[in-house]
Symmetry: C2
Subunit: 350 residues, 2 copies
């Protein structure tokens, strides 16, 4: 059912596909790592499956500019506003984090806010770059002008799934990486269930009158609306919707990118991205040790069921990635064949 | 059942109580406004009810220092690390936002990160100060070393309810103010239901084996655990827990405040606070107009039920506050009597 592909093979294959589309080699390597991060960590809805479904069509339709450089619009030292000029978001979001980290090293905090971006893939991949520098990284990205989920009291879709990610070092343990859509699940989870012919749990979709919908195909038919984190109003739907708006503000209103509620066309062009990096070590000694102690204590907390230890977001993904870097990344047969059909490098390895 | 108290009377009464405890007059006025904000906006679990239950005991036991000045530990221009030195959090969180806003005006972004704080009241009150400057304000506060909610797979409480607030101007409309605990509800909502003898909805508390608990008294008895935003694992419990950890990182790990998982005593001393302010107008023109357009479009979205218009977090609270500033703030009889017994100013007005 799956082919175990060596991680370096997967990376070089995908990087080759991007290079063929005109992405400069160093950027293609970053973009490939960002895309394969989904499969490496198990967040497969944001991995290779999106290569032919999402990214290649962006090149074909001219909605991404493979070699565009970021254009700085304003620079206030600790903060930078830039236009990503339709460069591949898989790369430009990482570039934004690296620039924010260099500013944070000086000012204690650094923010790069982008307009004109394209889909960034796993937000957590980019945020984790800050953790690798011993810093804290926060990424927020809206979905450009795309409208996916309605307000809790609304009739029509209004905002995107608006992901939010935070990464923080955790000593010798895998970094803490929270990587979440502000809707209950991202659309990829719903569509993966639809492709697999599986039912989805109540609480992901609802009909316009609020009845739970467990048929994932209802989403693309338009009769199942994606719900916000929190579910019903009494268990926090307004918080999930509020977090969606928080991302819209931080990622898109601040830089002046496209926004769902104001867009004439529901399409994920002109995406807004916020890369915020904190450098606690610029403010005090002992941050790294305290971070290791905090996440050590979380991972060491007494479990309710001794067979199921307490972990934190990012731990499982980090452990899985460590195994797969050594032993290979499982790629479903169908996806493997798809990749072979577009990627000469993988054909050679097959 | 309630007494309608003129808002200025309420403010001066509470400020008088704080002044009597040694808080300097200008700080007492801010702290009173922060506390009464709960009653003014309808978030009454974080209002006057906490004066005798939470804040006065802090003075009596010496856990707050009424006249302490904030001590700056490190200053990198765009970011400041300070020790709040047990000053009343109702005041020091606002002071942190004002300082962060002044840095943001110069650098586009400003962060003040506090250790040694005490309970800040409604996080949204402090965040909204940034919106009043035409900026975006983010407040995160942990609960010091207090442990309230367990990890989704954990047996014992691990983190506090860890509030998060974001405020953004919305033109002529009330500002967008998201003010949320990262647990499904704050403890005040559970205790208010217990005082009123009411059942709570399933999804707020669960027994150690995961069964929903609808008796609010189970919380303080210790046999009902407060759940994270997202409810069950398949509807996002790990996101809510992850957001709780996000707040623990931003608010407490960064400045080096007390943290639930590492504390020897579960008590809300040495609270950590992050005040982050973004000044988009330092980066681009048109931010105010775009913000008005965004929240106008959200408030103008087609409702599912025409009798129930779409709003955004902060709209209802803002409208309620506007009415109550003119007509008075409803205070439950029992609370009014409680206030009269400690506040000479209100006695004189009674």
């Amino acid at each position: 059912m799956t082919v175990l592909v060596p991680y370096p093979t997967l990376l070089s294959t995908v990087a080759g596909v991007f290079r063929e589309r005109g992405v400069p080699p160093d950027r293609a390597a970053v973009a490939a790592e960002a895309l394969c991060h989904g499969d490496l960590t198990g967040m497969s809805t944001h991995g290779l499956v999106n290569l032919t479904r999402l990214y290649l069509p962006l090149f074909d339709s001219g909605r991404t500019a493979p070699a565009a450089d970021m254009a700085v619009i304003a620079d206030r030292g600790a903060s930078v506003l830039a236009d990503a000029r339709r460069a591949l978001g898989l790369w430009s979001a990482s570039q934004a984090v690296e620039l924010a980290a260099s500013r944070a090293a000086r000012y204690g905090i650094g923010m790069v806010t982008l307009r004109g971006a394209t889909h960034i893939g796993c937000a957590g991949y980019h945020a984790a770059r800050a953790a690798a520098h011993g810093m804290v990284g926060l990424i927020a990205s809206n979905c450009g002008g795309q409208r996916i989920a309605p307000a809790p009291d609304g009739r029509e879709p209004l905002l995107g799934t608006n992901p939010l990610a935070l990464a923080c070092p955790a000593g010798d343990r895998p970094p803490f990486v929270l990587d979440m859509s502000t809707t209950v699940v991202p659309t990829g989870r719903v569509r993966a269930a639809a492709r697999a012919g599986e039912e989805i749990p109540p609480g992901w979709l609802a009909s316009p009158d609020g009845t739970p919908v467990t048929d994932p195909e209802a989403f693309d038919r338009g009769d199942g609306r994606l719900l916000w984190l929190g579910g019903a109003p009494e268990t926090g739907a307004y918080k999930g919707f509020g977090l969606g708006l928080l991302v819209e503000v931080l990622a898109a209103l601040v830089p002046g990118a496209a926004m769902g509620p104001l867009s004439s066309v529901s399409r994920d062009d002109d995406i807004g991205v916020m890369a915020l990096v904190l450098a606690p070590s610029a403010l005090r000694p002992g941050f790294g040790e305290d971070a290791a102690a905090l996440f050590g204590a979380v991972a060491g907390a007494k479990p309710a069921d001794p067979r199921r230890p307490v972990t934190y977001p990012g731990w499982q993904e980090g452990e899985r990635a460590r195994w797969r870097r050594v032993h290979g990344v499982p790629v479903p047969d169908e996806l493997y064949e798809e990749l072979r059909s577009i990627a000469p490098a993988l054909r050679a390895a097959g």
